[in-house]
Symmetry: C2
Subunit: 524 residues, 2 copies
């Protein structure tokens, strides 16, 4: 029954993510173009919101949007007066930023980074006492891999060759299939890599990119910024955010019938915000679909280390496509990886890479050129990207402690995911799929009619209304579902599983109390 309602909505609205915005504009986001047209045209400023790039104006990025600005203001108020609110701190569950919530960096990685930042340490005897032997050895290797040992030089536009060799070896070990270091483009995190591919593929608003709904808003933002068209495909909440090929086909045909030339399919696995981990046969079907339809498969695999259920395993789309017998000339595949996620969570280092396969040499040259126009990604991030793909091995001095740190973080994330999921499922009118992977839960909240009306009165989307109420009452920051896209008429929010384990009970209590009060206030 949910499905037929969804289908009805799709028929009405399903033209692009625009529907997601429109749906909310009526409540919450007045069209920027409309609301700003009321500004005086004799502004003293030559640049106004009316005369900037309209694609910038249209772009939305909810995970750092209105709710975060509100949280920052509350935080300032708390700093000025600790008694300003009924809570004593803001808990940022809006973004996958583990270290901001107390996760400690992996010691080995930081040892190596420090030595590479100040290689003079490598020659000093005191260093032996301060650093593990394998971190010193690794730093020597890395510094030697950098041409001229120039740790402060621009690198090759794709990144330092030796680091790309290491990453390629790591991918080979992960997948059991060959990887060419020339296919690796090191980037300042996954976001610039995604922007780079959108810039390459999108020619006009007639070019479409198939994106899951719900999706991580990087995709919608990037498509909008580059003037393209988001073609949504819906993940099925009822089957644990399942990805159905029939839905892909339907949406593709629908887009084609509207004159949209669909260039690529974005798949996020493990899923953000949904937390689902794709089954291997599902991945095969996706590869086959992209192959048959001539679509570039943009595989967002930044959560590849974050899988929390024994029955699921991460398989890269590269491995899946190679295991199907498809080689470099058969399928266009870009895999995105980042140092920001996994067990390391080094968001601030802005490191990552994309592995680019299946493009002709002349197109590869164009990707290289776009990379060159930013010279290179940061070397610290490059080094870290090579480290996460080649962590300490059995026999290395750091191996035991590294595995202990890694294991503690991943098992704690598993515990936290489960605790929060269970708590959410106990709330009245809330259902929440399991986080099989990634760093998020995306519960559905069934809001009473009275709450929806109250939201309308505040010109707010119902889910944004709920999230703002939650923030003001508890200091917990979550992101309304409309930022990710959702079946019209349904409401969700995204909450990270990242607060430290000992904080979870208190968060659950605050959330539960808030929700109960909210429902008491608005129950129909």
């Amino acid at each position: 029954m949910r499905k037929s309602a969804a289908d009805r909505f799709r028929h009405l609205f399903n033209r692009s993510l625009v529907f997601v915005r429109n749906q909310n504009q009526q409540y919450h986001h007045p069209s920027p173009l409309r609301s700003l047209s009321s500004m005086a045209s004799d502004s003293p400023f030559p640049v106004t919101a009316q005369n900037i790039n309209p694609q910038v104006l249209k772009c939305q990025y909810a995970v750092r949007g209105e709710i975060v600005t509100l949280a920052q203001n509350l935080q300032k108020a708390l700093q000025a007066n600790p008694d300003a609110h009924s809570f004593d701190e803001i808990i940022y569950c809006n973004i996958g930023n583990p270290q901001s919530l107390g996760q400690q960096p992996i010691t080995f990685f930081r040892e190596v980074l420090a030595l590479c930042d100040y290689p003079a340490l490598l020659d000093k005897s005191e260093t032996q006492g301060l650093f593990s032997a394998d971190s010193i050895e690794r730093a020597w290797q890395l510094v030697d891999q950098i041409p001229g040992r120039a740790t402060g030089a621009y690198s090759h536009s794709q990144g330092i060759q030796g680091l790309r060799d290491t990453i390629a070896a790591g991918i080979e070990e992960r997948d059991g299939f060959p990887c060419n270091a020339n296919d690796i483009f090191l980037t300042d995190g996954a976001s610039p890599a995604v922007h780079m591919m959108m810039q390459l593929l999108i020619r006009s608003e007639k070019d479409g990119i198939l994106c899951p709904i719900p999706q991580y808003p990087l995709y919608s933002a990037s498509i909008t910024l580059h003037g393209g068209h988001l073609v949504p495909y819906y993940l099925d909440e009822a089957t644990g955010w399942g990805l159905e090929i029939s839905e892909l086909k339907k949406q593709l045909e629908d887009a084609k019938s509207k004159g949209i030339s669909v260039r690529a399919l974005a798949a996020i696995n493990p899923g953000n915000p949904t937390g689902q981990v794709l089954a291997e046969d599902n991945q095969r079907a996706i590869v086959e679909f992209c192959k048959q339809e001539g679509l570039v498969l943009l595989a967002d695999e930044v959560y590849q280390e974050n899988v929390y259920v024994p029955e699921k395993k991460f398989h890269s789309f590269k491995k899946v496509s190679r295991s199907m017998g498809y080689g470099d000339n058969d399928i266009c595949l870009v895999s995105f990886q980042s140092v920001s996620k996994g067990y390391h969570g080094e968001c601030g280092k802005r490191g990552g890479y994309m592995e680019v396969t299946g493009f002709s040499p002349d197109v590869r040259e164009q990707i290289y050129k776009v990379a060159s126009a930013n010279l290179c990604s940061n070397i610290t991030g490059q080094i870290l990207a090579s480290l996460i793909m080649s962590p300490p091995k059995v026999g290395d001095e750091s191996y035991e402690s590294f595995m202990a740190e890694r294991g503690a973080i991943l098992s704690s994330l598993t515990t936290r995911a489960k605790a929060l999921e269970e708590a959410l499922n106990k709330l009245e009118g809330v259902t929440c799929n399991k986080a099989e992977g990634a760093m998020y839960l995306f519960p559905r909240i069934r809001l009473p009619e009275k709450a929806i009306k109250a939201a309308e009165a505040e010109k707010s989307a119902p889910d944004a209304f709920y999230c703002k109420r939650l923030l003001n009452a508890t200091g917990i920051v979550v992101v309304p579902g409309f930022g990710f896209g959702q079946v019209p008429g349904t409401w969700h929010f995204r909450c990270t599983i990242l607060p430290q384990e000992d904080r979870i009970p208190a968060i659950v209590t605050r959330l539960t109390e808030f929700h109960q009060k909210f429902m008491d206030e608005f129950r129909d």
Copy 2:
């Protein structure tokens, strides 16, 4: 006489930097669209050079273009066989990348970075013996400025507040005028900041940006990628690359008459590739021009520390505009700064900032949103950007050694600039303006008719032909002038002043011998 010839050419070609490309396409760069249309349309690849974003295809970035690819191939050949060529190494003078040519990083900066990368060091007693006292103190300050001491977390989209406060204080000290930390946007180097502003300002090919010719190709590349129109203004080589307001007015009127809406003026000071340092009264006239014409002044000030002549001083455009009495509501000004240049040359750290003043709050919000779509710049680069704006002070333990390192680099750059300039001016048919600042010389080469014909026969631009010959004969990599733009019919190349001082005599000898042989071969 040069001028009248130039004027004639301008009349013929002066529609945008397109002329620079057209001029060279006939020799050297077959139109990508044309040359690729001969490719089989039944390519096995769904993505081809014919169906990617044409703006990507059109974009050119000469400093990492054909000549660098050729150099990389020569280097590989040398690695395989040290006797493969008549020289034993490649000397990369194509890009301002000081540490790749042996410049050592500033010790204090690297000490601080290492401590921030691995803050556990701060608690250990051995650290006192390994690091200077003020680097330890500074690292403590920095770590304390990072919310939750989370050195691996995403920061605020504009960068860490405390670091922006430090940078703002540094700007105030430099300029003697107030600076608001909220105007600072920390970025992964200056390039992404320039891209961000182009993305904001350019709506269509009818939007123009006034750029100096010659210019740093980041500007032409970014304008092309964002679908805008480069409106050239010519620097006058005869007067040391002087910037004349009459030329700005003429080009602006010309662009307007063609229906181009000019949004901004880019000024590079000290100049790249020209090395000129603008005089303060010239800067005042530029500010007044932008103010009167409602143009955003994009001030590329990344070489602010690199001034080599006593008669010139760097003045920021912010200081100049404030000293004219223009405040935040009077002129739109964006100043770009980078950790890659100056005396530090930390290119690989990808740090920098832009100071954004004179924009309305709603436009500021849009800039914030674009910054958010990449989450934040890398924290190492952020820290370094704060350090270059607040280096050690009198009384700090590192002060003397810091000043000695800084002084040695800057005075050596002065010596190198002068030595190379003098050597170039001795070459037959070559004239070279003084490098008053920045890191480059941009000599004009008068090529014999026979050389131009030989270049034509190779379908190469004459300056590219010369540069390739130079590379093949000496291993020295310089960039042909067409990558920067030049008055049609004139030929130049850009050469950095960055090889280490003890290497300069050998480079001069090799260059001189090559040039003489070249002229002997082609002299009319």
